[in-house]
């Protein structure tokens, strides 16, 4: 069998491929290999993530060195011993050698040695990342995170007057420089708690008392996401972590402990012109990366700004929304302390206006996005437990205008 390999054909093929890849890449941000995204594991902002990252680099360097050596030998053997002609192929068979035990033993020993290099920091890392180091245990701040389809609840050790604990949802605010020990619970299926820049993930598994610890080295705003497939809307089960200096953290806790904010409405005042409900495409991007003037946002500053009430508020519209919160039975599932809303099935909304995101970390917390979420939750979060063909449990419908009023009310809850 004579089968010449027409290399002259493959030159144009490789050129076409190269050209196609150029076209393909021209539309892309080619910096993706630097891996500098909000959720990257390549930037460690705390000791746990740092320990995991340094171990990752050990594995990269060890395997890369082996890859280069073995790959070079493989490439050399392929080129050197390739039959170059028909005559070559039909020459006398090469020596029929069966191997060399000494070579095998040497290579096995080398492999074991390489693995020992990886296994020592692995073992160290397993113990270090597992729990808060003994010396810091006393200083650890304990939080319980609970996974729901599809949002996160956070229980703080702080007690509100009357004994109930402080509860928030979807934004975890932590003090900087203190180990945070997080109990991981779930009320339904398995979820996984993952803030890549602070720590690797640990799963929230029913009937299992998991925990993790993390620590933020400096104030910051961090992206997190559920990392275990948990049903329809797993992809949009997200959250944020906000790390604050101790003083700011204390101030935030004090503000959160307060009951919900009231916006006084003049008696009989009619709502002003009501903003139209914007229309959104399915899965449309719901988080702006830019300030109003178009410059890139500073997410932490954005969060700080979010703590303050808006400069102009339509008190009458807010009052309408507050009333709707009762008549539409939102209060059956959501708590708003001070406004008579006691429900616990959904996130606590007492200070929802002070969060930068809603809908489980998916949408930016602006009145427009809030109204989008309230008007058509099933489009934002398919399969969500709040809404089927109407709001559960009474199949309640919310008109667009009512969604706008509810959004105004919730936005006022700083």
């Amino acid at each position: 069998m004579h089968s010449p390999f027409p290399s002259r054909f493959f030159r144009p093929v490789s050129q076409i491929l190269a050209f196609a890849s150029l076209i393909l890449l021209s539309g892309c941000d080619l910096n993706f290999w630097k891996m500098q995204g909000h959720q990257t594991t390549m930037i460690a902002n705390g000791p746990v993530a740092a320990s995991q990252l340094s171990l990752f680099w050990v594995t990269v360097w060890v395997t890369l060195v082996i890859f280069i050596i073995v790959g070079a030998v493989l490439a050399y053997a392929t080129i050197k011993f390739k039959a170059r002609s028909d005559a070559d192929e039909h020459a006398e068979p090469p020596p029929q050698g069966h191997g060399n035990p000494m070579v095998e033993i040497a290579l096995i020993a080398a492999s074991v040695f390489a693995l020992v290099i990886i296994s020592i920091p692995t073992l160290k890392g397993i113990w270090y990342t597992h729990d808060v180091p003994e010396a810091q245990k006393a200083d650890a701040y304990n939080i319980t995170a609970t996974g729901y389809q599809w949002w996160f609840k956070f229980d703080y050790p702080e007690k509100i007057d009357g004994g109930a604990g402080l509860v928030t949802g979807n934004e975890l605010v932590i003090p900087v420089g203190r180990p945070i020990r997080i109990q991981l619970r779930t009320v339904d299926v398995i979820h996984s708690f993952w803030v890549p820049k602070l720590a690797g993930k640990v799963d929230m598994i029913p009937n299992r008392g998991n925990f993790l610890w993390l620590q933020a080295d400096a104030p910051g705003y961090f992206w997190g996401q559920c990392a275990e497939y948990c049903g329809d809307s797993h992809a949009v089960m997200r959250f944020r972590v906000v790390a604050l200096a101790p003083m700011e953290f204390a101030a935030w806790v004090a503000a959160q402990k307060a009951p919900a904010r009231n916006v006084a409405a003049a008696a009989g005042a009619a709502p002003g012109p009501r903003p139209q409900l914007a229309t959104f495409k399915q899965n449309e991007y719901g988080y702006s990366e830019k300030w109003a003037d178009g410059s890139p946002i500073n997410p932490l500053q954005n969060w700080v700004d979010q703590q303050k009430p808006a400069a102009t508020e339509d008190a009458a519209l807010i009052a309408e929304g507050k009333a709707l919160f009762g008549t539409k039975l939102c209060l059956a599932c959501h708590t708003i302390r001070g406004h008579g809303a006691p429900g616990i099935a959904g996130p606590d909304l007492t200070h929802v206006g002070s969060r930068t995101t809603v809908a489980g970390g998916l949408l930016e917390n602006t009145p427009a996005q809030l109204a989008r979420w309230i008007a058509h939750p099933e489009l934002v979060k398919p399969g969500n437990k709040m809404y089927a063909s109407g709001y559960v449990p009474m199949n309640i419908k919310v008109a667009d205008a009512e969604a706008v009023a509810l959004a105004a009310y919730l936005t006022s809850l700083k």
């Binding site: 909000h38 990886i118 890549p196 640990v202 598994i205 996401q225 399915q282 991007y285 398919p382 399969g383």
Partner: protein
């Protein structure tokens, strides 16, 4: 062909017409009936291959839908539910319905030829495995045609997402039932292969002379019979939770969802080796053939394969590093996982040793084999990174894992299986695949595969979790996803070229004589396509690369063959098993029963189960009736004399 039919119910030598009508034995050698009743390992292997390739294309289309959805951020080609169904079915299809049966196709077709056998030990059981595999595949895919849809709980089906509370429709029932049937098929087939390899080796074919592909078949078969019971138990528990309200995984009644993960991965990790060991076996056949040298370090390669098999049972929890196992368990599983890297690395060293000093013939199977080594190295090294448990906490369930296991499963298993199809094509069909277009298909597949999956390493380390139907555009994930989608279509084009080429070659490929590649193992010693009885004379094996030895010691072998042929003729000629319809009917019974269990509607109140119970019972009756008929018809066969042993094909003449 009118063979002489014997029966235990009639005198020896009576014709088929004398048997009771019910115990009629089909004798058709062509047409649909010949395929439905076949017990020939080559036909069964061929059918396994055809079904597997069909599902490979189905799974590939599912993959393209996944990549389409992720091509750009915030996309809405698919709804969340459709997307979740796609990735669930993509994983289930590729693992259970494409790669495993494609390996089974090679086990069936090639392994008996390599050990010098005329069939597997239990030919009818072999047919039963084939049809039961098909039945399981049908059940799993029925959802596409029903209003409940196909399963969408992920291919790992983690409890409690598979419970009635969170997935009330029938899709999970079908997934659970279908996988159980696949388990039955796989275990029956594996027992068959084990007995075949132990008992039906040609004289002189000692265990340490077995071709490495046969060794890997043996190890894989043991992995299957030891690991499938674990998932079967888990699946039965889920089924009982769903049908009879038991509480194995029902959290509100104290069930333990973590138990599912342990049972699943006690199966699931050996499953990884079930998928890769046959591939390693194929590579270990192709490299020596195209290097014109024996495999370097044969005993080391064999023992490495066996150690991988053993260690494969000791590392399941490395899929569960993030489930909070505690320090000691995590450390133990991390260390055990690193240990597996040693025998795996040893295999790579020995493959390179095989190339060293050879005359490398760069034909398409060799290209795929070399591509396999490169891709498998990359997949193996990212595997070592996962073994470092704390680093894995950042990688688990991210796209880094997706990249890792696709390098092992496509760059590894699929490359080897595609190489194997190309390599054994001349043997199976007597025609050769065009080299030029073969190489084109290799390069397009190679390029498409790397363009698809290499960027996914980066997007994974950049924090993108797997199984997500949408992602936002501000996370730095856009470019790699876009590139991966383009790569997926290039890969699909390459696969398209490959299959077009195979279909073309089947009809129009250049005809070739036996031993097209200058092979080293026994399958190349017979005419192509192989006659039904495989070997006119069962060979006497003298060395590890048995056929290579024959070719280089022709005088000695010719004399020996003549005396063996004479001895065999004196024993009545070549013994062939009868065909049978009952394996197929047994599988039909399983199909009907499985439909009853998983598809028929049922009410939680036991009194309302009428249809469900009726259909299930009908299926059971068909199964048991067929099984008894199978037993009663007996296992006899007939003798035939091969009058010629040439490349014109089936020279068998019936013995009257």
């Amino acid at each position: 062909m009118d063979a002489t039919i014997k029966s235990s119910f009639t005198d020896k030598g009576s014709a088929v017409s004398n048997r009771p009508a019910l115990l009629w034995r089909p004798t058709a050698k062509t047409g649909l009936m010949s395929w439905l009743t076949t017990v020939d390992h080559k036909r069964i292997g061929f059918l396994y291959g055809i079904f597997a390739l069909f599902f490979f294309i189905v799974g590939g289309i599912e993959a393209l839908f996944i990549r389409l959805q992720l091509a750009v951020p915030n996309n809405d080609v698919l709804t969340a539910e459709q997307y979740n169904t796609m990735f669930t079915m993509h994983g289930t299809t590729m693992i259970f319905l494409a790669v495993m049966p494609l390996s089974a196709a090679f086990f069936n077709y090639i392994m008996p030829l390599q050990i010098g056998a005329r069939d597997v030990a239990f030919p009818r059981l072999n047919a039963f495995s084939l049809w039961t595999f098909l039945v399981g595949a049908i059940i799993i895919n029925l959802g596409w045609f029903m209003k409940d849809g196909a399963p969408d709980a992920g291919w790992v089906g983690y409890a409690p997402l598979t419970s009635k509370t969170f997935n009330a429709d029938h899709s999970i029932d079908m997934w659970v039932m279908g996988l159980q049937l696949l388990g039955v098929a796989s275990i029956a087939a594996s027992l068959n292969f084990i007995v075949t390899i132990i008992n039906l080796r040609a004289p002189g074919m000692t265990m340490m002379r077995l071709p490495v592909f046969v060794w890997m078949t043996l190890v894989t078969a043991f992995l299957i019979i030891l690991s499938f019971p674990a998932i079967t138990i888990a699946l039965v528990e889920v089924m009982m939770d769903r049908l009879f309200s038991t509480n194995f995984f029902e959290v509100s009644h104290g069930g333990m969802p973590i138990l599912w993960q342990h049972l699943f991965w006690v199966f699931g990790h050996p499953e990884v080796y079930i998928l890769i060991l046959p591939a390693m076996g194929i590579i270990s056949e192709i490299l020596p053939c195209f290097s014109r040298k024996p495999l370097y370090g044969y005993p080391i390669v064999v023992f490495s394969g066996a150690s991988i098999g053993f260690l494969g049972f000791a590392v399941w929890s490395h899929h569960m590093f993030t489930t909070g196992m505690g320090t000691v368990a995590t450390a133990a599983f991390a260390m055990a996982t690193m240990c597996i890297a040693v025998p795996t690395g040893v295999k790579i060293f020995n493959w390179i040793g095989t190339l060293w000093g050879g005359h490398l013939k760069m034909r398409t199977p060799m290209m795929f084999a070399l591509g396999f080594i490169w891709m498998f190295m990359i997949g193996g090294f990212s595997g070592v990174m996962h073994a470092a448990a704390p680093a894995d906490a950042q990688q688990q369930d991210s796209y880094f894992v997706i990249a890792h296991f696709h390098y092992v499963l496509i760059g590894g298993s699929m490359f080897a299986l595609l190489a194997g199809i190309h390599y054994w094509f001349p043997l199976m069909f007597g025609r050769v695949v065009d080299e030029f277009w073969g190489k084109v298909s290799f390069w397009v597949i190679f390029a498409g595969f790397n363009i698809t999956f290499f960027p996914l390493h980066f997007v994974g380390l950049n924090g993108m979790p797997r199984r997500t139907f949408t992602y936002d555009s501000n996370l730095g994930w856009n470019a790699p996803n876009q590139i991966a989608t383009v790569g997926a279509f290039i890969l699909a084009a390459g696969i398209g070229i490959y299959f077009t080429l195979m279909i073309y070659s089947y009809f129009k490929g250049q005809k070739v004589g036996r031993d097209h590649w200058d092979g080293r193992t026994l399958e190349w010693s017979i005419p192509n396509p192989p006659p039904e009885y495989n070997f006119k004379v069962i060979p006497q094996v003298h060395a590890r690369d048995a056929f290579w030895y024959e070719k280089h010691n022709q005088a000695e072998i010719a004399a020996e063959k003549a005396s063996l042929a004479k001895a065999e003729a004196e024993h009545g000629g070549i013994h062939m098993p009868f065909q049978s319809i009952w394996p197929l009917f047994c599988s039909v019974g399983l199909l009907v029963g499985a439909i009853g269990v998983s598809v028929m509607d049922h009410d939680p109140r036991p009194g309302f189960w009428g249809t469900k119970i009726a259909v299930t019972i009908i299926g059971g009756v068909i199964l048991f009736f067929s099984a008894y008929m199978w037993a009663l018809e007996g296992n006899e066969g007939y003798h035939l004399h091969a009058d010629e042993d040439d490349d014109k094909g089936h020279g068998g003449k019936a013995h009257h």
